[in-house]
């Protein structure tokens, strides 16, 4: 169940083939909104590959609690994280609405990662023009806000727009840091 037809990236030089480019431009300001508890979050629609129901997830050892494990996405094994736990929200029982957003992101080396994110429910696809997005607020430096792309204002409500590569990226960095710390304590012992 693919939410969007991914437009094929057209070469910038081509002037004849404007349609897909327009479409891409149009999609660039579209965000998929979803709920975690009472809050509404959003991710760029271009990063969303599909939305699926919650399937059986196999836990992975030696990973932080918010890594739910791996699941079988039509023959491909993908890691699944729980966004609730990632953002330190209390865990809840899965409901009928609970689903997995399959996200695609590429890191700085251009390597693609496909990953599932468990959310309470998905809402809708919303148009949020750049003018309606405010930079992330400053809470002081204690809270890492790298994964918040901005705050979208829609109908007087605020949606936290997530930078998904950062959500995973910071997780990776964190893990590397953990592993390094573990190694150093082991060495110290």
């Amino acid at each position: 169940m693919s939410i969007v037809e991914r437009p094929t990236p057209s070469s910038p030089a081509s002037t004849t083939n404007q349609a897909p480019r327009k479409q891409r431009d149009a999609n660039e300001h579209k965000f998929l909104s979803f709920c975690l508890g009472a809050e509404t979050y959003g991710v760029e629609i271009l990063k969303v590959r599909e939305i699926i129901g919650l399937l059986a997830i196999t836990p992975l050892p030696q990973t932080p609690p918010y890594v739910r494990g791996v699941m079988n996405l039509r023959g491909r094994i993908i890691p699944v994280i729980d966004l609730r736990l990632r953002f330190a929200l209390p865990a809840v029982e899965a409901t009928k609405e609970t689903c997995v957003i399959v996200l695609e992101s590429s890191d700085s080396e251009g390597e693609q990662t496909v990953m599932g994110a468990v959310v309470d429910s998905v809402r809708e696809v919303q148009d949020i023009p750049p003018s309606a997005i405010e930079p992330p607020p400053e809470f002081g430096c204690e809270i890492p806000l790298g994964y918040i792309q901005g705050m979208g204002k829609v109908k007087e409500k605020v949606i936290l727009l997530l930078e998904i590569a950062e959500v995973v990226g910071s997780r990776e960095r964190q893990q590397i840091a953990q592993a390094a710390a573990a190694a150093s304590t082991r060495e110290a012992a």
Binding site: A56, T58, L60, P61, R76, I77, R186
Partner: protein, 869 residues
């Protein structure tokens, strides 16, 4: 030794019949020509030790002599009589050098073949050269043709290497031997024309060498012609042999075939500048350059275009546009390569471009030499460019000799075969009559047969398609998914509850199709071991030669297919094992004689299927492993309790010590029980392939090294184990045994570490639930199962709830970038859920380090307590 051995080997290798298959009695009643063919065959197949075969051959030759005498063919009779006498000498061991005698014998029979008049109407005649072959087994020809696909390029390569005689070294002898082998093989297969051509080429090589140069062009022409022949035979094993006029023209042009009438040939221009000794050229490039990849792809396209144009030109050489295409291809490659500073590429492309420029401007005729050179240039450039991606570089010699040949050709003074055209103003693009004055039919024969053959070869090439391995892998994966999906449907309770015959029948049908599809998709990645084994044949020859031993290699099962990845990985272990077997296993000829064995050692390399895996064995009939020495060494190195009675130690355990790293180095000094050199490498490589290696050895009778390998890397045979509700896959190969422990066998250490007695050993117990932090599963050891796992040096027990069953699973990556210790991947089980595949090595390491941590923590607590008290 090598000549006869190689000879015998080559033939055995293409499954030729043994001498015993030749029914000499029957032969006698047949035509004289047939008898001679049989004799030629027997000569090639018979070994110096094969007395019955030799005696039969002698009989045959004598009968030929009589027959020839009755037909008053005195020359033939004389040759035959000479051959018969030689055989007799060999039988009676009156010859000093058996090899030499066999060579002379072969020559005598060739002479006999040439001088024999055609007999009767039923005899094969020149006008119908293939009728003699109807009796030859088609399979034999097919096998030969497929073998030649590899040997002809080798011949060409060697020939080019010989161009510089001063540095040719072994290559020279090798070329001669190969041509001789071809001759023998052609004789066996009744390819008369080919046999004669080989023979003539041999003669010419001798003549040319006497004059101090090597007739590269003649050999290359022979190779080209043989390739044409292969193309014909591949299509139709009894096809007529193609016209050899072109190849003969090359022979004659170079050396004046008819030495009686032809003027002394002008010595060909000596290849200037003895080429540098280094056999590898250097290609410096900046691997990080992004343009490089584009260059490689583009250059390949250019070369493909150029080659295509060459083929077009061969068919119809009137279109100057094709020349332009080729020119442009080389020019572009030169330009871009210059930009990237790829010097050898620039030089080759430049030389080729110069030649083509001469052709374009009309100062050089476009003839076959040019086209051949362009193809060679394209090949070498292709190799150079491929090396950017990590392929081996072509030898410096081949590059340099190509450049020289190109330069000579563009000077209009190219190969000796091509004197400058008498009329250089002949327009570009017309069929070049360069060779015409010497051999008018050559051109027509060339244009008629050669392009056809090339086209046929291309068409044949079309039957196989190059596919990127990525696509292949994804296909295999998807089929794997299909199998799982199909299983899920079949096992669905709703489906199984339905008692509808039609549905069940259709489901069964679906199942069959899916299984077939899976088999086919798996076979896509499969390649035969043939190429690997062939390399080993060469290795055996070289090692045996160096060690001064006589070793005969017997190969079996080279058609066994394995996953491409596996085949790529077993080369190294095989080399080690074979080198060991030749070096240490097989004794010297003198020792063998003393031991009452045949002086020639036999090395058997065989591959066969055995229960879902492939077994590759290297067996020698040498002295076997020296048990006593290994044990002594073990005690010296403290690997073995000296108190143990050596007689109680099972052989398998003793042989296992050979694999220990470092064991070999210690043994190197001794000359007898060595046999450990590189064995740890062997074991590690094989274990990396999820295989195992075993040794069987009997003192004085030899040893067998047996590798058991999985058919593919994509699938493993796994045990599905359960902990609580979770399932894990443990590779079956790593499980030594599993058992439910008895309370009495368990020991606690420090209240933390647990040990269990397995046989005479105490093994540490690791609970999978602890290592993997699983919250469920049984705790009491007596309620679950212990698996004895082994990986490398580590051996330990791992505790699980139960074993659910054994299953083949497709290995998948987990998609997570960081790797997890103790987990090598995931597998999708029949119900669609993911089970993690346990990496036994990593698991045991992780478990050990955790245990270590725990013990340390306990230790520190102890010390703290002591401190406080």
């Amino acid at each position: 030794m090598p000549l006869r051995g190689a000879f015998a080997f080559t033939l055995r290798w293409f499954n030729a019949s043994t001498p015993a298959d030749i029914d000499f009695d029957k032969v006698r009643t047949m035509s004289l020509r047939h008898s001679i063919n049989q004799a030629a065959k027997a000569v090639v197949l018979t070994d110096a030790r094969d007395l019955p075969g030799l005696v039969a051959l002698q009989d045959l030759l004598q009968s030929i002599t009589r027959e020839a005498q009755t037909r008053q063919a005195s020359e033939a009779a004389a040759s035959s009589a000479e051959a018969a006498e030689l055989v007799e000498q060999i039988v009676l061991r009156q010859v000093a050098d058996v090899e030499q005698a066999f060579l002379r014998l072969t020559e005598a029979i060739s002479r006999l073949d040439e001088t024999t008049p055609e007999d009767g109407a039923n005899a094969p005649s020149l006008s119908n050269p293939n009728s003699g072959r109807t009796s030859v087994d088609r399979d034999l020809i097919a096998a030969w043709v497929s073998g030649c696909e590899a040997t002809i390029p080798e011949l060409e390569h060697l020939a080019v290497a010989c161009e510089d005689i001063a540095h040719a070294g072994n290559a020279l002898a090798d070329v001669k031997r190969r041509i001789h082998t071809f001759k023998g093989e052609c004789g066996v297969l009744s390819l008369d024309c080919a046999q004669r051509l080989c023979h003539d080429t041999e003669t010419h090589i001798e003549d040319a060498l006497a004059q101090g140069h090597f007739p590269v062009d003649a050999v290359l022409a022979l190779a080209d012609w043989l390739r044409t022949l292969m193309a014909e035979l591949a299509n139709d094993p009894v096809a007529a042999e193609p016209d050899d006029a072109h190849a003969r023209a090359a022979l004659r042009a170079g050396f004046g075939c008819d030495r009686a009438t032809a003027p002394t040939p002008t010595p060909p221009p000596a290849i200037p500048a003895p080429i540098d000794d280094g056999c590898a050229i250097e290609l410096n490039f900046d691997a990080a350059d992004d343009n490089l990849a584009d260059f490689v792809t583009e250059a390949r396209e250019h070369l493909a275009n150029a080659e295509n144009s060459v083929l077009q030109l061969e068919k119809n050489s009137n279109d100057p546009e094709h020349v332009n295409v080729i020119f442009r291809a080389f020019h572009t490659i030169k330009g871009v390569a210059g930009f990237m500073n790829l010097v050898p590429v620039v030089r080759c492309a430049h030389a080729a471009e110069c030649l083509l420029d001469r052709v374009r401007s009309g100062t050089r005729n476009l003839d076959n030499t040019v086209l051949d050179l362009v193809l060679v240039a394209s090949d070498i450039l292709g190799q150079l460019i491929a090396s950017i991606n990590g392929a081996p570089l072509p030898s410096k010699r081949s590059v340099e000799s190509l450049i020289v040949r190109l330069e000579l050709a563009s000077d209009g003074n190219d190969a000796p075969a091509q004197p400058p055209s008498p009329n250089p103003s002949t327009a570009t693009g017309t069929a070049a009559p360069a060779a015409a004055p010497l051999e008018p039919p050559a051109i027509s024969a060339m244009t008629a047969s050669d392009p056809n053959a090339r086209v046929a070869a291309m068409r044949k090439g079309d039957q196989t398609v190059k596919v990127s391995t990525l696509r292949l892998d994804s296909l295999v994966n998807e089929v794997g998914e299909l199998v799982i999906a199909q299983l899920m449907v079949m096992q669905d309770p709703t489906i199984t509850a339905v008692v509808d015959q039609r549905l069940q029948r259709n489901l069964a049908h679906l199942g069959k199709i899916v299984r077939d599809l899976q088999e086919t998709s798996m076979s896509l990645r499969m390649v035969t071991l043939r190429a690997t084994f062939q390399k080993m044949a060469r290795l055996v020859r070289d090692v045996a030669h160096k060690a001064g031993k006589r070793v005969q290699l017997v190969v079996e099962g080279e058609d066994v297919e394995l996953d491409r990845n596996v085949v790529e990985e077993i080369g190294d272990p095989l080399v080690h094992m074979i080198r060991n077997a030749c070096d240490h296993g097989i004794e010297s000829a003198a020792d063998r004689r003393a031991a009452g064995k045949d002086e020639t050692g036999t090395l058997k390399l065989r591959a066969f299927h055995s229960g879902g895996s492939i077994v590759i064995e290297v067996a020698d009939d040498g002295r076997g492993l020296n048990r006593g020495r290994i044990l002594k060494k073990c005690v010296e190195r403290g690997l073995l309790d000296p108190a143990r009675n050596p007689a109680d130690i099972p052989d398998s355990e003793v042989w296992n010590y050979v694999f220990l790293p470092g064991f070999s180095t210690a043994e190197k000094v001794t000359d007898i029980s060595g046999r450990g050199v590189g064995m740890d490498v062997v074991r590690r490589n094989i274990e990396a392939l999820r295989g195992s290696v075993e040794i069987y050895s009997t003192p004085g009778e030899g040893s067998v090294f047996s590798m058991r390998l999985p058919l593919t890397m994509a699938i493993i045979d796994g045990m599905i184990v359960r902990i609580g509700t979770q399932r894990y896959v443990v590779p079956t190969l790593s499980i030594e045994r599993s058992f439910r422990p008895l309370e009495s066998d368990l020991t606690m250490v420090f209240g933390k570490g647990e040990l269990v007695r397995v046989g005479e050993q105490h093994l540490a117990v690791h609970r999978l639930k602890h290592v993997f932090d699983i919250d469920e599963g049984v705790d009491a050891l007596s309620e679950g199962l212990l698996l004895v796992l082994e990986s490398g040096k580590r051996r330990a027990c791992v505790f699980v709830d139960e074993i659910l069953g054994q299953q083949q699973v497709v290995i998948k990556t987990l998609g997570a970038r960081e790797s997890l210790r103790g987990v090598s991947g995931g597998a999708i089980l029949g119900d669609g859920r993911v089970a993690l595949i346990v990496d036994v090595g990593g698991l045991l390491e992780e478990a050990a380090s955790r245990g270590h941590d725990r013990l340390q923590r306990t230790d520190s607590r102890h010390s703290l307590k002591e401190h406080m008290s």
